[in-house]
Symmetry: C2
Subunit: 407 residues, 2 copies
Amino acid sequence: MSEELAEGLVAGGATRPAGFLADGVFCGIKEHDPAGEKRDVGCLVSELHATVAGVFTENKVKAAPVLVDQERMQLGVTCGIVYCSGNANACTGNQGLANAREMTALLANQVGVAADEILVCSTGVIGKQLPMDIVRDGISRLAPARERHLEAAVAMLTTDEWPKEAAAEFEANGHTYAVGGMAKGAAMIHPNMATMLAYLTTDAPVARSFLQTTLKRAVDDSFHMISVDGDTSTNDTVLALANGAVGGPEINGGAAGEALETALRAVAVHLAKEIVRNAEGATKMFGVEVRGAASVAAARLVGRSVASSSLVKTAFLGSDPNWGRIMCAAGYSGVDFDPDKASLWLEDMLLFQNGTPTDFDEDAASTLLDRKQSLFILDLADGNATATAWGCDLTTEYVIFNSDYRT
Amino acid sequence: MSEELAEGLVAGGATRPAGFLADGVFCGIKEHDPAGEKRDVGCLVSELHATVAGVFTENKVKAAPVLVDQERMQLGVTCGIVYCSGNANACTGNQGLANAREMTALLANQVGVAADEILVCSTGVIGKQLPMDIVRDGISRLAPARERHLEAAVAMLTTDEWPKEAAAEFEANGHTYAVGGMAKGAAMIHPNMATMLAYLTTDAPVARSFLQTTLKRAVDDSFHMISVDGDTSTNDTVLALANGAVGGPEINGGAAGEALETALRAVAVHLAKEIVRNAEGATKMFGVEVRGAASVAAARLVGRSVASSSLVKTAFLGSDPNWGRIMCAAGYSGVDFDPDKASLWLEDMLLFQNGTPTDFDEDAASTLLDRKQSLFILDLADGNATATAWGCDLTTEYVIFNSDYRT
């Protein structure tokens, strides 16, 4: 877990903003652990109706909770999220849809709202029906409270080693607002648990369409810029809830909108980097800062292609400054650029200049790559746009974990 | 190596068709092996001017030999190919282009043709200049002969465990023609050796544009349907040479064209499957037969997405009938289909039917997956098009080999 706060962050998680409560308990979807540290059912509740925005998986095979949430996003407001981990409720047909809806009805009943005012998420194994008897019991034992954000963050984990929380503050219209969040990663120690989930909260009042726009931009710079293994899950979901508990005029762009977006991005980027740092089997992480791209979209594509390459990831594991693999992955990203103008650095060490190899010190470069975090900078010399992607090493542990038989 | 001939194949390799000669020697680009089994410079020569067609990497970072060949394809005819393994001659700037051209001039001089009548390929580490002193010596020692096809097939290998050759025959216009070929795989035991190269030959006379069309179709069904790790190399090249040595009217479609294409596809599919079977670290392979797709392009996309998924490949390593990962990979392929209509089989065992899990026997399925080759059949129920992709398991050996430091 992070020992100090990253720049721009404050302590706390999804309940740092006023009016948000949370909890997480163990019901038995996951195998019992004698230490009693596991949780597999959780909730995040807003005391006020919250404006809601969402970004969902683009996989054509969408889990039942994703389908239910996408339908309910049309309401534009929500009172909270109920979720479980250990079972994805994906590829489960009509029974899966009924089970997802029942989960929302159970939490809605407890907090005194309508079922369609609750959203739902699941993460875990694909193709198994939820064990609703124990899920019902688990939901009945949820006692949402502001101080139980860590329990809630633990309840969304699958094979992550630690819970992922972050919070930030911003000033706007004479008020101090908070943004909070929790996430679980694409840490696939057990099969079919590739899902990335994140819930972001704020106590600022935010116009619905602006919340959706600003969430999309923050996700594009954070969760969309990380890669663990290139598999896009059936369940990926990022939800943003703005309950306006602190009051003030509705934020809908301008300076207040920018302040909100800066805080939301800081929380989202931190959670995204935590997911990479804790990726299954990973021992260290690297950034790929793409400069001089013709567009931000091009910079993102190139960065993601490099961060996703199995050959780059294995070379990074071996601290091998094997930059040819980076140029190769940039070349198949789908972005058009002139390799003869491109240059590549590891930190401030020039590896490749205007299309030609340099005589860099390979031992010094290898030593740089031994650290917990490294940065490659790739200048395409094709424009002014930049973007940064993050990846991790591909290890034998990844392979072993993911080939273990499920039962 | 294959012990018996696959259906539709005959014995031999790239020199099975009349008028083709080949050779391969060791010059020292690769580290010396005391057993004297390595070869790293080779050639394939046609005694007659051959019509030529080519399919090249779509990577924007193209190796010097790819750039030289693409230029020379405009001639439409060639007298042969000179190649080396152990060095990709990629990301090497103008010096790399000069070196690639010099390789062709050296072989051209030996066989008495013009330099631009020779094509060139390289495969190996990216970003190092070719050691031209030893390459010159190696080329000078090439003595192309019909019976030296195996030496030539060995000289194109990098980390492949065995040479890959195939041949087939077809009847057309009252003649018996042969098709032959050799390939090297994406077996990346050492870094930066992801390149796939294949040379296909025939002694039939073939119209240039028809040769290009039929090669493209054969490649789409073979080399484009295999995946080892999703990394598209800077050097990938497939060349087809038709020298007309057997005589007869020029083939330009019709029944003769179909006969040629059937033979060419049989050779290409066999070589492609050999590449997967010999993929670095792989212990077994699987096919993904996509049925009921709206188009062949859609079927190919879905098949390739499944065959490339790290999660599918690791589950396959563990003989885990974890079909949710297959549906997930199909879902993010970019192809639109209705998961509620889709069904999935392992051989004749139904795993998923019209969007709902079946109660299949997991132990029996796991036993099926223990074999050297398995077939998944995915019916999208969205049309009549089909395609088959091939993949292999992702093993810890893959990770270890690819993280080894280069020097």
